[in-house]
Amino acid sequence: MTEAPATTKQLHLATDAHVQYIQSLDTHKDELDYWLTEHLRLNGVYWGLTALHLLGHPDALPPDETLDFILSCQHESGGFGAAPGHDAHMLSTVSAVQILAMVDGFDELDRRGKGKAQVGKYIAQLQNRETGTFYGDEWGEEDTRFLYGALNALSLLGLTSLVDVERAVSYVASCANFDGGYGVRPGAESHSGQIFTCVAALAIAKRLDLVDQEKLGQWLSERQVPGGGLNGRPEKKEDVCYSWWVLSSLSIIGKIHWIDRDGLIQFILQSQDTEKGGIADRPGDMVDVWHTCFGAAGLSLLGYPSMEEVDPVYCMPKAVIKRVLG
């Protein structure tokens, strides 16, 4: 459990503890939650691995084992499920592609898996060709998260040509609100998570000109609460993962200086468990790998010393993005 320290001056990032925490995640098989969250296992590997990369310990999870596990989640269709025996879904497929990019595993995917092309095909067939948006799976849920995920993964695979990017872009544009933000579908209320997915999708499509950057920047900067943390929408509680959704969006539109950097760093550091490792949603709560990932990503984007630089569009190490995209 994290204690709010009396003086915040001497707070620092407990890198070693966090690395150990992430390494220990697969050893909690005597806890019910380990089994109840199997539907997030592959996503969990992405969160853990991303955090490790940003903390400067990319090999703290054995890359071979990671690769084997990822390939064991792939279906004939090319899509990935969250774990062996789980149905394929856009979200786990995107995580799989991101992980493969981090462990430099695209060649292995071609050799031992169903191949890059098949993954691209799986993602492409989930596009609604009329509206441009994407489904999560064969059952037809639509969400701008899936659209972003599709462009993210396809661009890493070099296969964006398989989908109608122009139509996807106009769908995102139709989700824009008066306040400069974006919702989950046209007309839906602005929400930091959806703003990230929409702005990052437009960044991948090189269409940031469509964003009302002034208004969006204002809305995003108002997400910072007096304690330094950021919330997801007005009058809600601050949360470390929103540090990421809000901050990365601000970064993409070049307005990261519109919030108090030091206040946010302090908030994230206060949410750490400095002894056992991991970062929680806010100070005093129990840690989890999701907030550990987005807390680390937030700190990296804020330029916290001796961390690997994070790419705000992909939420992956900049060095990996550079290697993959050239």
Partner: protein, 403 residues
């Protein structure tokens, strides 16, 4: 399972040996159930027992999306030999989405995994192998019963896990089945009851993001031709008024209101005079709110929405497109005066200064020069009241001096 923290497993607090043992027993029971379901799926056994097992597992873990999918396959692997399942659909009708997108019909014929082929070929087709053919009415009765019982199944889960996406998805899919399978007036009733449920959810939690989004979706469907619907803009607009009167600080309700207005005026066939009257009423409504709660972001959001309708050039989306530039100017001047009045009671609310600067800037775009001293004072107030956003105020300052 922890319903907070986005459904991610959190680190646990220390347990006693006894608690650990109890957890191990729970794990063993859970995994036995899971294995049982997986075995059945690998044998393509989408029968009533498998269906019941999915109920058992989903009550414990509604985040398990694959099990929701198995449940759907159990219900739609249609056959009259399965009176507890939905009837088989005639070829060409989409079973997947309420909007009937053609893409998904094709996805169904090539499921993403070879192990997940719909098992319909394992069952005799309707009317074959000795079973009596059902009449259309029989089939629809059966489907209605199943749709209703599926909706009932998800209610307690939604109450316990209101933020779990998969429950909402499954519910929407079930409702979509009503459109595909039932006569329009029957399907419409099912959807109308759904609107009642969303109302209850929003009564319990007025800011539930999912529930507001879901409400808009349900209304869209109720208005659609597939349900022989007509516009509900007036009643939904009234609904936002009601929700706002209960709680001024409801960003979701204000947002929805702003979305409804252009349609509302169009459908009312409002002439220029009616539109101006509407604008006056809305301004009075929001001003009443600001007078009691000027620290409330939701209210300023809506005020900005109205102001941008006055400032921006005429377009089909604006409330009162026929206003002359003079009228626009005097509207904004009056708002600025009203906001200045707020300063008499509230000197330390930064939103007031922000609005004053913003609207004064707009006035100069409408041809009215601002007093530099006033702007300078307001900016100084902003900087001292809101140091967190110093970078933004510096950018604003540079912008003001450049102009």
């Amino acid at each position: 399972m922890t319903s907070h923290g986005h459904g991610i497993a959190r680190a646990t607090r220390p347990r006693t040996e006894e608690q650990r043992q109890a957890d191990l027993d729970k794990i063993a029971r859970y995994r036995t159930l899971e294995d049982d379901i997986r075995d059945r799926v690998s044998r393509q056994d989408y029968d009533q027992d498998t269906f019941s097992l999915t109920s058992k597992l989903l009550r414990q873990n509604p985040e398990y999306y694959t099990v929701w999918n198995i449940r759907r396959r159990c219900l739609t692997s249609g056959s009259s030999s399965k009176p507890w399942a939905m009837s088989s659909l005639s070829k060409g009708s989409s079973t997947f989405s309420a909007t009937g997108t053609s893409h998904l019909a094709s996805a169904s014929s090539s499921p993403p995994s070879s192990t997940e082929t719909p098992p319909s070929h394992n069952y005799p087709k309707t009317g074959m192998s000795g079973t009596t053919a059902e009449t259309t009415e029989d089939r629809q009765m059966r489907d209605l019963e199943i749709i209703k019982s599926e909706l009932v199944f998800t209610v307690p889960l939604l109450m316990e896990f209101p933020k779990c996406y998969w429950i909402w998805n499954y519910r929407l899919w079930t409702l979509g089945q009503a459109i595909v399978r039932l006569p329009t007036h029957v399907a419409r009733k099912v959807w109308e009851e759904e609107l009642g449920l969303v109302g209850k959810m929003l009564h319990r939690d007025r800011r539930n993001f999912h529930a507001w989004g879901y409400r808009r979706y349900v209304v869209d469907q109720l208005e659609s031709a597939a349900l022989a619907g007509q516009s509900m803009t007036e009643s939904e607009f009234e609904y936002t008024t009601k929700m706002i009167r209960m709680d001024l600080s409801n960003f979701s309700a204000w947002h929805y209101r702003s979305q409804l207005i252009p349609r509302l005026l169009r459908e009312r066939d409002a002439d220029d005079q009616a539109r101006q009257k509407f604008l006056d009423d809305e301004l009075a409504f929001i001003r009443d709110g600001l007078n009691v709660g000027p620290e409330d972001q939701s209210l300023w959001f809506y005020h900005q929405f109205l102001a941008s309708n006055i400032i921006d050039d005429a377009c089909s989306q604006t409330i009162a497109p026929a206003l002359s530039v003079d009228q626009r100017r005097s509207y904004i001047e009056r708002e600025i005066d009203e906001i200045k009045d707020l300063l008499e009671d509230y000197t330390d609310v930064k939103w007031i200064y922000e609005a004053l600067i913003q609207y004064t800037q707009s006035l100069s775009r409408l041809g009215q020069q601002a007093k530099p001293t006033e702007l300078k004072d307001w900016l100084a107030q902003l900087k001292s009241l809101d140091p967190q956003r110093t970078g933004r105020w510096n950018d604003l300052e540079a912008q003001l001096y450049a102009a």
